[in-house]
Symmetry: none
């Protein structure tokens, strides 16, 4: 399962296989409905072996959480977005945003099964939610604020709007975009990724209102 991307994280091979299998099974059934027996079968090892590497089933979930956090926020990954932002100086916002979103969507694709697991469990466990906030959301928000500050400074982004709101718009649009592709792929047939991204960014950038500034001004007068 290359997509799960546990490689490169110097883990014992067995532990690696267990995590991969657990991600698969948790992702398909959810944590509680998954059985250690099925995980073992998927990992190609004996059930007892799991408990040499993880004291309890819950610990497997924690292992997934830690590794997902490592992948998403760790050096392996953050670097790429930092590179994009670092190299952003001469580019317009749409281009940067597209690069960032493309990079993030690729990331989401690769960690989707794990993300599904930990997001689901985060709904039920404060500690998981806290870990996600501390390790993923909070740093991402901070990084984004820096970027936004720069973009605003250069007059590329509205300065009359909270960075949180901007981030929310981007994340919200991206989230539904991902949900459509991953959960309702049969309902929302999409064109190629490139065009879709352009549309996505367009609405994030310019909103849904008519662009004509005259209209904007006179909006309130209409009846």
């Amino acid at each position: 399962m290359d997509t799960q991307n546990l490689s490169g994280l110097d883990l014992p091979e067995k532990e690696h296989k267990i995590l991969e299998a657990a991600i698969k099974v948790f992702s398909e059934k959810g944590f509680s409905a998954a059985t250690t027996s099925e995980i073992a079968k998927n990992a190609g090892i004996a059930e007892g072996t799991i408990f040499r590497y993880f004291k309890t089933k819950k610990d497997i979930l924690r292992g997934i959480l830690v590794h997902t956090i490592n992948i998403i926020s760790g050096k392996l990954v953050l670097s790429s977005i930092e590179k994009i932002l670092a190299a952003s100086d001469g580019k317009d916002v749409r281009t940067i945003l597209k690069e960032v979103l493309y990079d993030r969507l690729k990331l989401v694709d690769s960690v989707f099964p794990m993300a599904r697991v930990i997001l689901t469990e985060s709904l039920f466990h404060d500690d998981v939610r806290e870990a996600i906030y501390q390790n993923i959301i909070s740093p991402a928000v901070e990084m984004f604020k820096v970027f936004l500050a720069k973009a605003i400074e250069r007059g590329m982004i509205r300065d009359d709007i909270d960075p949180e709101i901007v981030l929310r718009s981007i994340m919200g649009n991206a989230a539904v975009f991902i949900a459509q592709r991953k959960l309702f792929s049969d309902k929302f047939l999409m064109e190629d990724m490139d065009k879709e991204l352009d549309k996505l960014i367009d609405v994030i950038m310019y909103g849904i209102a008519v662009k004509n500034p005259d209209y904007i001004k006179s909006d309130k007068d209409l009846t």
Copy 2:
């Protein structure tokens, strides 16, 4: 538990209590981790009594699904949004959007625990997902398209954009808004609802880019 809003759906009182308790417990632990024993305790009845009303634990979940769908899409509820849209003729888009969003957010508040349960299960069961799509998403999308068509026709909304994209932007922004309030209420302290809604709508309407049309035109030239 007024928030769960099962009232008004002429159910036997015990069935009502069981569903309420189940929503609470499923919502806190997820379906699989919840036990019928705990549901019974919460409902203040004997465990065996549950099975007089629901043949299996799975049937309780189905009961919740059915009732949530009834609440969200049923007459009880749809009427209000239809009223808003029907009365929308003389209003500007932001006002309508605000009314609709406010109405929907109140609805989400009231069904949040149930919604959490069925959304979570929808991740793992195609049939639940399909039910949600058929009964909630699809009709909502259809209704919205009608509204958008009218709005576009009157020049209130961009006509160079797919209705799906507009809807996605609105839903995405609203979704993250809800997640912030419900799951990370301690992290994102919000001002009063009214102001927050204004900000939300502002970014949906006008995007994050600078409004200045000059800039927009020259955007691509910058380096």
Copy 3:
């Protein structure tokens, strides 16, 4: 259900209905697998009502036992066989046997469902077995011995054979005959009852050996 023949035993109507229903259900599923709920449904009464007439489920079985015994060995029934035997003086054994067997087979037909229930349970409960022995088998054996003694006295039946053996032969043949008709009716298609009875009696009377007395005498010499 006329076949169950509980009529004529001045029972309260409800008790009657319960017993009839219980015979049906026990007969189809066995005592343990049957539920009082199903019995109630079959009797067309509320489940709770059963317990006004029978303190426990086990008591229903006892009720069936008592009534079956009443039917089989009681006045209602014994009379007919006694009449046959009383009127037997001028008849040959085959005729008497045929009359008795025909009478008993008709009886078995009518009580088969109950008999099935109590015979089955007699396998597992000493008390039931004891009741069957005391109330049915033992009196039947005694009565038969009287008849046999008479028959032997008149030279109609071998006098070099224990009455128990004679009875066993008759009962054994009859039992398998009944099993074939009741349990394997699809496997053993039978001619009409009359002819079958003749064959049955023939083998009981004369055995399976060649009738030729010469052969019989020389039988032991063969090697």
Copy 4:
């Protein structure tokens, strides 16, 4: 428990123990009234262990059925009766019958607990009954017919009688014989097996009528 005779059927030791315990408990209480907890206790294992070997309680019954059929009809057993019949050429019918009955009664003794279980269940489940018919009764009948044909051909058995009737007489007498010994051992004290068998065969062979051929001829004339 040598009597249950599961030995020689290369089963895992635990499975063997479970089946033995189940035969004991089912035999004492019947299938439905028996509990897996009691079976486990009898087998000296944990209750959960049962379900590693048998998916459901019903499967234990099937296991018993299969093994009983194997024992009764399988190579282990049929061989002995075939040997007897094969070696029957120079013997008289009574001798052969005695050997066969003795062999079968020993078999019944050894499988009695299992037989009781599956015969009881066969009363309530067509599939069990069908399995018994196909695997035990039908082959036994076929085999017997061959033997009878030979015996008739040699003038040892009446040729004016259906083979089914002969078989019925033998089985019926044997069945009641077994029932007496197994279920009413306290009521019917028996002499030694050998003498009992002689009596059994005598009545099967020559019937209950007076042997005197003169009488037989004149039977119908008597009044």
